[in-house]
Symmetry: C2
Subunit: 214 residues, 2 copies
Amino acid sequence: MENIQNTTTNIKETTICSLGFQQYLDQIKSFHGSAAPGIIIGGFMVDLAIKHLPKGILFDAISETKSCLPDAIQILTPCTIGNGWLKVLSIGRFAIILYEKTQGEGVRVYLDVDKIEPWSEIKGWFLKLKPKGQQDYKLLIEQIQNAGTSIMSLQKIRIKAHLLEKKQGKRIAICSRCKEAYPLGDGTICLACKGESPYDLYHDIESPAFFQGI
Amino acid sequence: MENIQNTTTNIKETTICSLGFQQYLDQIKSFHGSAAPGIIIGGFMVDLAIKHLPKGILFDAISETKSCLPDAIQILTPCTIGNGWLKVLSIGRFAIILYEKTQGEGVRVYLDVDKIEPWSEIKGWFLKLKPKGQQDYKLLIEQIQNAGTSIMSLQKIRIKAHLLEKKQGKRIAICSRCKEAYPLGDGTICLACKGESPYDLYHDIESPAFFQGI
């Protein structure tokens, strides 16, 4: 069995959320920029999760990592970071959760370390056992396609209540320091002016020409 | 001038990052789900920022809010949350930053409260002066299209050094509690097992049929 799994001539016919494998790769390249192993595996994870949700429900999504998986979710489901239906956590596990929006019942899919054992390149990539330059990309993608959802495990879960709370329409204030609008609930000045700004300001740009000197 | 701006019969011909206005709306609907005002304005913000970056540089992006703007960035630039070129902050200001990846020099575009004054519907929407049900959506979109980038201000900025640091390839460990892979740097067990898990586990799913009872 392991020999068959590891040959390069026996690639399964695969669909991911009704897309052909190549179609999904094309969508990845268009959106994510490159056919990274993590987002290809992510496609199988989303496919598996959706198949285990009741049909026709409205669901939200969580990615437990910032890497790759949020893009698989955004390509294959209606959930995006900007529409609020996808939350991205930084807890560093390679897992996704899809759950019914109001009650939080749902499924969690994770890449199972025990199940990747027969797949040498997947194991080497996932556990970072060898540097990127030494990975066999072609074999890795073939193993991912052949392994499909067999390297994943599935859990029935319920999202914690505080993550389900519908945000109230926040009242808006104008920050007395930066003069920009911000959620009043953040305090008397905005969070950026409280020290969370990601940048240092050089200057306002009065005209496009002024910026040529960057 | 204000009369012209506020009529509904005088809509500007507009392009957003080389897309026609309608083309951009179609892309929004496909990706984000609905043509929300915030993401339409976000398109103009991205367009303005790109025009003020030096040509041909590789840039990363920051959204200062989780709402709408991350999706405008993801639709119109190569930066996505999953490829790591887009960071989404929760500091609640309606602003985006595009910056050269290695040195952090770039531009910040924000919706300027002073400049929205002539645009009644934009002002009402942005400052949440009236409930959503009382907003005139058609007029709002027309005002957004006609206002274009005139309601925005631009700053030259430099991203703080700690946000530019290239993450080292993290070493991977197996968590002794959940048995899943996680970044070793997070400690002796993973962050989820330290209390940051977003869910309560019902049970593992052994077979698809088992899940019908959700």
